[in-house]
Symmetry: C2
Subunit: 220 residues, 2 copies
DNA sequence: CCGGAAGTGGAGTCCTTCCTTCACTTCAAG
DNA sequence: CTTGAAGTGAAGGAAGGACTCCACTTCCGG
């Protein structure tokens, strides 16, 4: 009894080819224009009808999830690699630089790191799992970097989340005209994160509040 | 011969009253929802027809200029006050905090500080003049703060522009859920700007490039 | 208090974007 | 092959937002 549900029946070869083209087109379009790119532009880039995009990806979140699956995996891998780095402070700085560079080179990914999706389908769930895996490694990176005494003791892992929102702002404003502006900003931040001469800071926002901030429907 | 052009004839009293209501409504709406708030919502808030808004403010830039004239004046005044502060480093930090606080309390103003308008009408020109005045004072604040040795010597006045873009990103992402998150980020930045233990940085973006970044038509 | 200029807003156009429908085409199992 | 299930896109509906038109109302100088 090999009864198949709709979702696990394999696509016909032509449909699979189209799906691949759509994902590739979405990756290019999102990288260039952020997560708000209209569906018809993606369809045009993929060389298919708009209806085909909607058929395969019933809502924007599904398409985003499919388009950024690979990149989110790199993101998680980068965290694992940074964690493996023998010098935790180097791992810390390297990871921050690398993630911000990923934002700078892909406006969609920059946006993606400042929102989360209420998982309504498996692809979205998969994406969020990788994000979470990366964050778990990040927490360990922070702990180890703090232990070396090079990272200031009051650094909170959530400070990265806020930095990513800030970097997204810089990238959005300077993309195309001053595409390296973010680097100086990030280096300032890294120097602020170093333990040397660190001064007291306001408390970080409550975890809860930050989670809700990430869940806002979309960037307004 | 008191011939009057269209632009300098005073408005009829009812029209002037409506204009005032529109500006007030726009201030509230922009503060809440950023510069993209639809015209019909502003019209509704003002209690006038949509056509009246369009008649008085032919394009969005005119309305924005009218709505933020006062706030941009405060912005320039804050720079002048910071410049008058006897301790230049205190003036520097106070100004940065104050400006970022203005962004946090008004999403429209946060957006406004990350774009400029190609002045096409007197109100817009006026707004840009005040922005420029503030920036001229800022340059002096930076010079004096550097002279005290408390501000790192490689700080560039344009670093504030990038910080405002970053802060706009934080504010946009956290408004409503973690409305104080920006403060910690700004304190990190101020500590990075302090001369103590400062490390080399990447060069700031070219002035030209930053100016063009501010001129991008709208935040995408 | 009257008449014409100034001002108004409801209703409409145009445009963009999301999303669906359906007559037609393509695939692949038998 | 044949055939029917899977897949397709042109066309169009619905929704929202910018902007305009014009019959009507309000103001105010004489």
């Amino acid at each position: 009894m090999t009864k198949r549900t709709v979702s696990d029946r394999p696509l016909r070869t032509d449909a699979a080819r189209n799906r691949t083209a759509i994902v590739a087109a979405a990756q290019r379009a999102f990288a260039e224009g952020g997560l708000q790119v209209p569906f018809d532009e993606i369809a045009r880039l993929a060389g298919v009808g708009e209806a085909t995009v909607h058929r395969r990806f019933p809502d924007r979140a599904s398409l985003i999830a499919a388009a950024f699956c690979d990149k989110m995996t790199s993101y998680a891998d980068a965290a694992a690699e940074a964690l493996a780095e023998p010098d935790p402070w180097k791992g810390f700085c390297g990871y921050v630089r690398r993630v911000c560079a990923m934002q700078a080179s892909d406006r969609g990914f920059a946006d993606l790191l400042t929102i989360t999706f209420a998982a309504a389908n498996p692809a979205v769930e998969e994406l969020e799992l990788r994000r979470d895996a990366a964050f778990r490694d990040w927490i360990t990176i922070v702990r180890k970097a703090r232990a070396t005494g090079r990272l200031r003791p009051d650094f909170h892992p959530d400070d990265l989340v806020v930095l990513l929102m800030a970097n997204a702002g810089v990238v959005a404003a300077t993309a195309g005209t001053a595409p390296d502006a973010w680097q100086r900003h990030v280096e300032y931040m890294l120097q602020a994160f170093a333990a040397d001469n660190s001064q007291p800071l306001p408390a970080p926002p409550a975890r809860e509040a930050l989670v809700r901030a990430l869940q806002r429907t979309q960037r307004t």
